[in-house]
């Protein structure tokens, strides 16, 4: 599987608090004489997330994945999970359970690149660690960035899973 979400891609995912953060923070009524808490940190997060998506890094991961496609034969016989090595699919259940206890902090961190933005996400989501199981827990956002990274981290050794007639 490329991403966690590909597994359920043909059924809509039930959204979480994270999915509607923008509604809670940016919509709803405002009354002029009221003050409003500062949400500066969150605005920074949104911008950062956007920049990461269209990165050279993402392109290289696409290219790498594409270079493992069988271009000369009927690729229809290969499914996407196979192209990406497969084992991640097996880990999804476990990962899902772990995810249940993840906080919004982690969720937001996920959509940022791990290296460059360590400082940014601490600002407003501080100390919101493990509150225990929540009815509205954050889950993964399907992401080219994240999805392809998954594959790379988790199952690189399984690249030659099936015999490739080309090689």
């Amino acid at each position: 599987m490329i991403t966690y979400d590909d597994e359920v891609v043909c059924a809509p995912r039930a959204g979480t608090l994270y999915d509607v953060l923008e509604l809670i923070l940016d919509r709803g009524m405002v009354i002029d004489v009221f003050a409003r808490v500062s949400l500066v940190g969150i605005e920074i997060l949104k911008v950062d997330a956007r920049i990461v998506v269209a990165s050279v890094d993402t392109y290289l991961r696409f290219a790498e994945a594409c270079n493992r496609l069988d271009l000369e034969h009927d690729t229809r016989t290969k499914t996407v999970p196979e192209l990406f090595g497969g084992p991640l699919a097996k880990t999804v259940g476990k990962a899902g359970a772990k995810r249940a206890t993840r906080s919004l902090t982690d969720k937001v961190r996920d959509i940022l690149s791990p290296e460059e933005h360590e400082h940014a996400h601490e600002q407003e989501y501080e100390n919101e660690g493990r509150d225990g199981p929540e009815p509205d827990r954050p889950r993964h956002r399907p992401s080219a960035e994240r999805g392809l990274r998954h594959r790379r981290d988790d199952d690189r050794p399984r690249a030659r899973r099936r015999a490739n007639p080309e090689e």
Partner: protein
């Protein structure tokens, strides 16, 4: 927005409901009990504001939960997270001054709920694109035979652009199919990855039908566009943020 100076009079405001609604049992922001403040035939759900209100997960959820409990009883005008009234008198004065506007807004969302649908690019669709598109397949072949950094970036960019384009096209079609039968729609911000983001105002009775419609779209377009549906929500996207400017 003015800098927040919280005093012991400061109230955190969740939303506005008509008279006759009971206070929610759910604890509010920072665990404070939520009460209703009456004025001009309306009630505002409030709690004592904590010294520092910040957009923390626990408090975002409390805000949301309070509104959800109120919405179960009748129409609610949700406030944006983090609204603070300096004191109860200011809030009552505001209810009186805006009563007509607020009443009309309440009528607009009566027996309605908000559902939010998002769609993100499915990167795995690139394999289908390469299979289908001669130009991409040629590019992929050439890159494989002469692999270098530049070629890989070019190929990857073409693939990323391709899956995004297909997802955007699917998003347009999904939106067109979900809109009929809803009361109103409100588009939300999209980006290169999240290409569909729309809120729908529905009659409460239509929730199941709407979910079914989303499921059908997911089955049809799921290879290109991963859909998620969130709701029922308080009608955040279907209240006018502020009363029309009239010199107040």
């Amino acid at each position: 927005m003015p800098a927040t100076e919280v005093t012991s009079d400061t109230l955190y405001v969740y939303g506005i409901v008509p008279d006759g609604i009971r206070p929610p049992r759910t604890a509010g922001v920072a665990g404070a009990p939520v009460r209703l403040l009456s004025g001009a035939g309306l009630r505002a759900a409030v709690s004592d504001a904590p010294a520092h209100v910040r957009a923390r997960r626990r408090d975002l959820m409390a805000h949301q939960e309070v509104l959800r409990e109120l919405a179960a009883q009748g129409p609610v005008l949700p406030m944006r997270f983090g609204a603070l009234s300096p004191d109860a008198d200011t809030l009552r004065a505001r209810l009186r001054a805006d009563a007509a506007h607020l009443g009309a807004q309440l009528d607009g969302v009566r027996d309605c709920l908000e559902m939010n649908v998002k769609g993100t690019v499915v990167p795995g669709y690139f394999a289908t694109l390469v299979r289908r598109d001669d130009r991409l397949r040629t590019l992929a072949r050439r890159t494989r035979h002469r692999p270098d950094y530049e070629a890989n970036v070019r190929l990857g960019e073409a693939l990323a652009r391709g899956v995004r384009r297909e997802a955007r096209r699917a998003a347009q079609e999904v939106l067109a199919r979900l809109t009929p039968g809803t009361v109103r729609t409100a588009p939300g911000p999209t980006d290169d990855e999240q290409v569909l983001n729309a809120s729908f105002l529905l009659r409460t009775a239509d929730e199941e039908r709407f979910r079914q419609a989303v499921a059908e779209q997911a089955a049809g377009y799921g290879d290109r566009l991963a859909l998620s549906v969130t709701g029922p929500l308080p009608c955040y996207s279907f209240v006018a943020p502020r009363p029309a400017a009239d010199g107040r």
